[in-house]
Every structure is written in structure tokens, then in C-alpha cells.
Symmetry: D2
Subunit: 341 residues, 4 copies
């Protein structure tokens, strides 16, 4: 079985395993106050060219989303997001379990737009009904989105302007950040992105690490007391250095972008393979998630040797499915798949 | 600097690093549905001799506590615990953040007793005031406790009887379970413990793993839907196999008890060293946490070469401090410490 | 200014004021354990012909919704509802603040239908994604809806069948229950409604009382410990008798239906007035809430002497507005309004 | 049966019933935006001589406590209070249900003191453990306390100084405020009290109203968005004027203090009766709650004609019980009781 169901089906880059081996006997303080975390933070701050930011390491995406949103919102506020946003669909109600409503904007491509966000803010702050409706307190977007699409620099700038106009922080879920940045369709640098938002995170779990996400809070107003929220949400790893060690390796020698580029190259190669065989995509194939439309018969046949994910029904005879490449995807496996198409 | 501040200052047993290396290229399904998790679960079920139990892997202790308690309690219920219990003191309000009150019993040694628990249950269910008071919905104890003490088989059996009499589940926090079981003062087997409670967890983070706790739900009534709660609390690791791989190694060839015994041997050796030099302990030195009473002057001197934790004030001239050994503690480091005493 | 903005702009039926006067010096126990509450509960049980049900009195609608939903759901569950449902729109996130997600179905008339509900249940329980998605734990509908529409007996029966097929309780928000039951379009009795759901409430605030809602739990499975939740949500009035006294008056001599009928007669009279003048309605004018489409110019003119609510934009020149009649609406006021149209 | 079990066993002052009668046909806007609420707020602001304060009306004490605390705290913060504080004992976990921990200080008389509060703040903010412990975010005290005792001006001033030193708001639960202010042992005016705290409430339910509490936020920093929290906690009464009408009557012509004084006079008269018969009190008899120690035999005898509350066991033969007078207590009923002693 060759797997294309996700980007978390393999382990990590070999540099991380080496580093874990080399540091295993070291004695360090716990809870992320160690030297490895310090070094990793410095590398990330350098990469985003923002000295005022603070970097924190958490274990996974749901945890990062919940911790960030809980640390910023007050009890009467909610998070503006696409209805397809991860926090609204696949986190088992984690945001609501902390007391916060997802204020959803319908989206067909995974993205939400500045004018839609501004309209929602105005509707909710309208004086007549205001205290009866949840107050927008944060804007959540994913880069890339759950549908593999990415925001252009212009689109993100427009959202950022709305966020700042209404003094509502902008949070970018970067669980697959590297794959967005490495996309040939992308015109944003990580520095641009850091400047345009108030908080974002750099996904490690899906981009080279065993596990872990680096949360970057660029807006100083939201740094205070953030560690309390990490602890409260179970994200303060006793052996916090494990996360420092991993991000040290990822951000040494531009490794993060190097492996992201490999993944995107593989996705592009696969995407071309699909197109060459006449397949169409449901969503624009911009990053490492591809959503081809395939006949049910062909799907059944492919399933014998390849794993991939059902996404949604297309028509009577066809479904949309998801193929995902990763930082470890081998070209030969894609060749096998293309041959089978 | 030689560190005795905690049992999470080093990495993991070498077998785990080897296993991570050997499995790194494997492609597996995510979220803990892989073969490694399946094998680790089987090994644990065999160790506790309980086929009806279910095993789940989580990332850390606070996360395990919150996930278990949230999955069992309803909104009007709370958790009976010692006032010194970890959930009541050092989890940054994680239990309350999920909506649940800690119903605390004052404790001087970290333990709570069957008669105290029964009294609290009766007081709270008293018909006149009942709906005005939080209903006890779970009993939380730690084995070993936060003060390094352990429950005897008789004490635990008595608590278990109360729990079953009132149909309130008993939950044992085993963040340091191995060190309790390996204690020369202990008369409980892991099978006894599994039988006497409804849910417990086997600490990995502090006992040989990089990170991870194995939650064992022995009472079938509480297994349903538990995975939803893992996901909601950010505990469903995308690369879930990381936890399976670690617990496979820990439960192969009785490794878990072997390394626990080493840790306890080191603690006993250190404890004898303290006693030989005339030091007294604040709490019974039963496991790998030692709480000697040391003059402030001596503490300042020791701090130059050794790290350990301030616990509480003893008198004008002395404090209680905490020294902790781990599965990796070296005898030579203890010798250095004893010489310095 | 003649007010048509809502059905809570006046006081209560005179019988209630008399009863409050007559009982003011009585000494009774608190928290709803008094004789007046007992009598009112008996009257309601008789009206719905269901001896196994339990009746509880709460202060208002948001409180009733939150208390019922919190008492039934577990932390990983959510409430299926129309996207226009009151709990999803105008309760300032009260449901989410208790930790629960609103699982919304898009609705154009305020109603949701059995097939839509069944589809959502199946989608969410689908084994592949299940623990990543909130589990449907209760079905919430309003009778009448927020758009003034009502469910037919057939529609409600179909929803009830789905609820029972999947063992998910059906909860009917009856903040305006009387006005639904008194509608000439209605083919349900209060007994039918009680039989088809698991819990509902009888609105008092908008139907004759000063304040108060009577929650009826017909399914015995959900009665246990409900009082804890009332207390927790601030609904256990110290002078609980105030609610008993009011519902005693409302359910003596069929007063509740008598005043509801008056309100509906007034709405019908007004509705005919609108139609006679050539106005169209956005939603079916089935109960006491009317949603005519009126030109902005005319709205501005009417606003000088009448109060009513902006609902939504219709087109460039017209808006949908809401006119509401109540149990105290005077025919002469409607005549003034019709003249002004 | 003559009742002394609480101060909420009767209705309200006759002026309120008259006002409800006189205003019943008025049409007003809902949700507390009406003229009656405006007038009542003005009367209260005048009584406390603080123009910058904002006044809000809620339905009951638990609701007021939860709404205030939720509106001020962030998710990682908790409320410092006496272990006997109402929020910690008899609100069915309402504070925790909103996500907040009660940080309790042991109290033998219902009061907590400035030095204890300061010590708790310092312990929790200690840099080593800080993010692992709940951050103190509000100080909650009751005036009078749950044991009928009151703070002196000096004691309250000292607490206020600690609160301001650490920038933690001070909240005074005044469910029985009038009875504290009218106590002969009291040296505080309502103006003093308003100045020394950041938020307090004036109890109506137990002091002359049918129901309702007037929340006064004197610190402008905590006024913003408070209405959202009222709505979220079910406290925004549709017919909000009901609360305005009641507080208008209570604060016209100093009625609130007049009826409070009557209640205290009755309590003093009863207290003297107890003492004359040789009874002792468990807590200082400072307000309208008396806690005499009575033999079990005598209690059984008294129970035939009088209702009062069991408080706690005193010794083998005696219990502490609670007798409460109210704004409506009749002298003749106290005479009957004294005769029976």
C-alpha cells in the first residue's frame, strides 16, 4: 500500500532523529525554558525578521488553535472563520468547549475575504442587537486553507487592514505553512505574513517534525500570560526541549523551506500527472493537497494499492478525493500512482 | 550542574530512540489507529491482565487528567481530590476551564482516605442542600502522590469500596506509576490497581519515554466516546504511532518495571545518604521524590553544583526541598551529592 | 408612540397582579418547593395529560435554553438547530459559553426538516471522521419559529421519528408556544407536542406573565439532577413561588389559550389589513409575528407614530420589518396602524 | 408555622406591588432600556454619590456573581474568596461552569483579611510556578458574610489597598447589603463601600423586592461590554422594566435603608431574647442572621411551630441553627418564638 492520505503518515527528517540521539543524555530544565528552545526561538525570530515577537512551542494543531483563541478572547467573543475552517469542522468542538463561538462565513474554496469579514463585524456590532450577538474577537484563517488554496498578498493585506481598522487580531493557522510558502502560486514571504497578522503558527507536525507547532505572537499585546494558557491546555510539555530540538533542526540552514519545496515539487509532478490523464480538480491545485474528481469505479480500483481520502460526492458516478504529498514523498511512488491512473 | 529537580530533565531509554529510527520511513495511518499503537495496547492489557479494558495514548499528564475527568463528568459534577492534588494546584485551572470544580479534602501527606471521601459524598448529597452544591462525580487520587507517598493495598481497597458503594468512578493519576509500584514500601501490583479503579494512567513522560501517558479505562461504562474527548483536548496526535512505538518499547520485556526499579534504587541510595548525614524528611521517603529539611545556608551552598526544588518553608533557618531521581540517574551523581551534604 | 416591536412591551394579565397581591404576606419555603409551584405543576401536567413528566419554572428563554441543553449534553456533543434558531443567533453565545456547539442547518423559513436532521446525524456519526466532529446530542427547534412559522403535525412527527431512531432527544423551544397553538394554521395540540418531544417549555414572558417559562421534561431519562442545572445557571429563584403563582393563573380556566387566541386574532386582523393595502409578507403570516415588505419611505413615515423592528433588507427601496401583537394588544391600536399604511 | 428559615419567604414591600399595578398597561422597550430602569439607575447613582459608575439590573444573586466574575476574568484567572463564600459553596459550581477557579482562603467567621489575600497573590505570582497556577484575577467578599458578620471600615480599606496595589478588582457581594449597612455594628456608608471596591451589588431579593439585584460597576474599566455578559448568563429580562420599577421604589425616599433597619431591629430584638434565655451564638450576631447553639431536644420541640435552618453540628447534644429575620418580620412572631425558647 502506498499512502497519499495525508502529510503525517511518516516520521521526521533524519536531522531531528540525530539531534534527539545526540541530546538524549543532556540534563535540562523542563517546560521549554531550556537552551534548545531558546536557540530555536532565536532562529525563528531571525527568519521572520521580527525581534518583538515571541515564539512558543506546542504539541499539535488543535492545541495551538485552542490555546491561541482562548488566550485572546473574552467570554462574550467569538472567532470569525470560514465554515470550512478546521476549528469549525474537525476539532470536535474544542473551541466551543472553551466557551467560544465560531462565527462562520460560507466559503466555497476555503478562503474568506476582507469584505465578508467587514460585513460580519458590522452586522454584529450593530447597536440595536449588539449585546444579543457574539462579539467578533479574532479572525481565523488558514494558510494554506483546508482545501489546499492560498491567499495572495493582496487578499491577505486587505484582511489585515480590516483587522486593524476594527482592532480585532488576525490569526493565521499555518499547520501546513511551509507548503503554502513553497507554492509556485504564492507571492507572500514569511516576513510579509508575520507583519500582516498578530499571531500565526509554523506547522511542524506536517512539515518535517515528529510533532510540534511553533506559535509566533507578533503583537506584543497578546504575549502576556500566554504561558498560562499553554499550561491550561496541556501544551506545556515537561520535556519541552523536544520541541526546541526539532525546530532548531527545521530552521537551521533553511531546512524548513527546503523540505517544503520538495513536497510541493512532488505535488506539482502529481498534479501534472492527473492533468495529463485528463482528470479535473475540484479546488485549485495550489499546494500539497490535490482534490481530483475521479469515477467511483476508478476509485475502487486505485484503492487496492493506494490510500487516499474521500472528500465529497461530485455526481452520481464520481467523487472528489484528496491526495496529499509530504516532505518525505518519493518520486517513484508518484510514478506508480500516475501509471495506475 | 547536576540536576535533581525532577524526573523529566533527560531524554528517554535508548530502545525508544532505536525504535523511532527503525520506523521512521514506515507509512502508517494517523491518529493512533496504526499497528504500533495496537501492539502497545495489547502489551499493556496483558500486563494488567484485563481484556475488557481499553487503552489510549495521550501526550502529557495535565492533558490526561483533563481528558479523563471531562469525559466522565457532567456539568453539575466535580472531582473529589486532595487539596494538594495536581489537578487542584499545578494545572493552571485546567479542570475548572472545562467547567468542573475540584472538591478538595485537606491532606497533610498527599493522600485522602476512604472515610473522608465518604463523608464528603454524604455531605454533598444531603437532600436539603443537594442541588445547591456540586455533585461528586469522580474520585481523583495520585499514585504515588505529589508528596512521594503511596497508598497501601488496604487503603486503596477501602477507597475503591466507597467508590463502588456510591457508584462514583475512581481515577488514579499514575504520572509516576512505575516509581510507586517499584517502591519497597508498596504492596500493590499493577493488576490490583487496575482492578480497584475504573480508570488510571501509566506515566511515560517521567518513566522512560520522551513523552506520553497510557490511559487505561477498565470500566466499560466510560470507554464510549472517549476518543472524542482526546481530540477535543488536543491529545489526538496526528502521528499517533509515536506514542505506540514508545509504549511498545516500555512494555516489552518488562522494561517499564526494570527502569522504575533503577530509579527507586537510586532514590533509596540517596535517602540513606541523607539519613547517614543526619537529615530528616518532611514526608515519608517512599518513592523517587525526597523531601529533606535542610538549613538555608546549606541549601545556598548546594545550589552551586546541584539543582533541586524549593518546596516549602520549614522554620526560620530551614526549608523543605525536593530531590528527585529518574530512570536515568547515575550513581556517581548521587555520590557527588552525598559528599556535598 | 404605539408599539408593535415585540410581545414583551407590556406587563401581565390582571389575574397575576391580583394573585401577587393576595399572596404577598404568605410565608413559604424558597426555591420553588412551595405550594403554588406544586399547584401550577399539577395544572400543567393535567393540560398535557402526562403524569410522568416533570415541570420546572425558570426566569426566561435564554436561561431555559441553556439549562436544558447543558443538562442533557456531554462535553463532546452539540445541538442540531436551524441557523436562524434563537440559540444560534441572539443569545450572545450562551450555548457555546457552556461548552456546546450549535450544529446548524441552513433554513429559509425558520424550520428544519426530518431528512435534513437525519443527514446531519449520519454525516457526523460517519465512522471515519466521527471523533473529529461534534456528536449530535440534542435536536432544538422552536414552535413557533423565529420567523413566525409553525411545524405541522406531520412535520413534527417526522422529526420525532428521527430523534427516536437515533436516540437523540428532541427539545422544543416554546417561548411563544401559545401563539403557535392558537394559530388557525396549527393542527397540533399541546398533548401531541408533549408526546412527540422529550422536553419543551411553555413561554410565559411573552404570553401573559411578567416573566417565567415552564420547562416540561416528558422523558424521565432527563429529569434526574435537572435542579442542579437550574441552580448552576442562576434560574433557581429564591422566591420561587413567584413563578408558581403566575403559572397557576395562566393555567387556571384555560387562560393561557384564551389570551393566546386574542393575540392571534389581533395578528390575523392586522395581517388582513396589510394584505388589503397590497403589502406582501416575507414569511408566511402564521402566528403573532408579521414580516411585511415595506418601502423605506413608508417605513420612515410610520416610525413617527409606531414602533416596529427592522428585520432585513429586501431590495434597494424596501425592507422587511417585523410587527408583533401580544396578549394585550388593543384593536384600536391596530386600526390606527392600518389607517396609517 | 412561623418561618425564620430565610429572608426570602415572603413577597415584597407594598409600594412595589402598587407600582407594578400602576405601570402594567404601559408600553416600553425591552431589555432594561426603558424609563423606569433609567430612573432607578439615577436614584442609585445619587445614593452612592458616584456619577461615573454604571448600574445594571439582574434577577438573582448567583446570576449576579457569575456575570460579574465572568465579565472580568480571563480564562487563566480565578477568584480569591473565603472557603465559606457563597460562590464556593452553594452555587452548584456556577463559577467553575464558566471556567473559573475559586481560590479559597480558610475562614472561620466568613471573612478574609488583607494580609491573607496579599499572601495568596504573592504565592500565585511567584515566578517559578506562576504559569502552573491559576492567576488571581478578582477578589470576592460578601457584605454581610454568609455567617452574618460584617467587615469594619478599616478591614475593608485594607483589602481595598491590597486590591489596588496589585491591580486586582475588588467585588463585594451585597445580597444582604441593606442588613449590613443597617447593623449597629457597622461603620461603613454605602458611599464608602462604593469607593473602596470596583464592583458590588445591592441585593433586592432579600431586601424588599420580589426579586432582583442592582449591580454597580464603579470602575470604568469593567463597564465595557458588561451587557453581553448579562445576556449570555440569562440575566437580560425581556421585560427589564420589572427590575427598574422595583429599584425605583426601593431607592425612593430612602426606603431601602428604612426596611433594612426594621429587619435589623427585629434581629436585635430576637438576639436579646436568645441571650436573655441563656443561649450562646456560634458567630457574632451582627446582622439579620443569628446562629444560636441549641440542644437537639429543644430544636425538635421548636420545630413543631417554627421553621429555621440546621447549620452545623456543635457537640453531641447541640447543633448550631440559623434564624433569619426579614424586612417583613413581625414583632409578634418573635415574641412567640422567645416565649417558646
Amino acid at each position: 500500500m502506498i499512502r497519499f492520505d495525508s502529510d503525517y503518515i511518516e516520521g521526521c527528517i533524519p536531522e531531528i532523529l540525530n539531534a534527539l540521539n545526540n541530546t538524549n543524555d543532556e540534563q535540562t530544565v523542563g517546560y521549554g525554558e531550556d537552551e534548545h528552545c531558546a536557540k530555536a526561538k532565536a532562529l525563528i525570530k531571525k527568519a521572520i525578521a521580527n525581534k518583538d515577537s515571541e515564539v512558543y512551542f506546542l504539541c499539535g494543531g488543535t492545541q495551538a488553535n485552542v490555546t491561541i483563541i482562548s488566550s485572546i478572547l473574552k467570554a462574550h467573543q467569538g472567532a470569525i472563520c470560514a465554515d470550512s475552517g478546521h476549528i469549525n469542522t474537525h476539532e470536535s468542538g474544542a473551541i466551543e468547549a472553551c466557551g467560544y463561538k465560531c462565527l462562520t462565513i460560507p466559503s466555497s474554496d476555503g478562503k474568506i475575504y476582507a469584505n465578508e469579514i467587514e460585513k460580519m463585524i458590522n452586522d454584529h456590532f450593530d447597536s440595536e442587537v449588539a449585546p444579543h450577538m457574539v462579539q467578533p474577537g479574532i479572525i481565523y484563517i488558514s494558510f494554506p486553507t483546508e482545501n489546499g488554496t492560498i491567499y495572495s498578498k493582496k487578499e491577505l493585506t486587505n484582511i489585515s487592514k480590516v483587522a486593524r481598522k476594527y482592532n480585532i487580531p488576525l490569526f493565521i493557522d499555518g499547520a501546513r505553512l511551509g507548503y503554502g510558502l513553497a507554492s509556485p502560486h504564492n507571492d507572500l514571504t514569511i516576513k510579509d505574513l508575520a507583519k500582516l497578522c498578530d499571531v500565526f503558527y509554523i506547522g511542524g507536525t506536517k512539515v518535517g517534525a515528529l510533532f510540534g507547532e511553533a506559535v509566533v505572537i507578533t503583537n506584543k499585546a497578546y504575549q502576556k500570560d500566554f504561558k498560562y494558557h499553554i499550561k491550561q491546555h496541556g501544551g506545556m510539555l515537561a520535556k519541552g526541549r523536544l520541541l526546541g530540538i526539532q525546530f532548531e533542526e527545521l530552521f537551521k540552514n533553511d531546512k524548513y523551506m527546503e523540505i517544503s519545496k520538495h513536497c510541493i515539487d512532488m505535488a506539482t509532478y502529481l498534479s501534472k500527472g492527473f492533468k495529463a490523464k485528463g482528470y479535473k480538480f475540484k479546488y485549485e491545485a495550489e499546494t500539497n493537497q490535490l482534490f481530483p474528481i475521479i469515477s467511483k469505479k476508478k476509485i475502487a480500483e486505485l484503492k487496492k494499492n493506494f490510500s487516499f481520502q474521500y472528500w465529497e460526492s461530485y455526481d452520481e458516478n464520481s467523487d472528489v478525493v484528496r491526495f496529499v504529498t509530504s516532505f518525505m514523498t518519493k518520486k517513484e511512488n508518484i510514478d506508480s500512482l500516475i501509471n495506475a491512473l
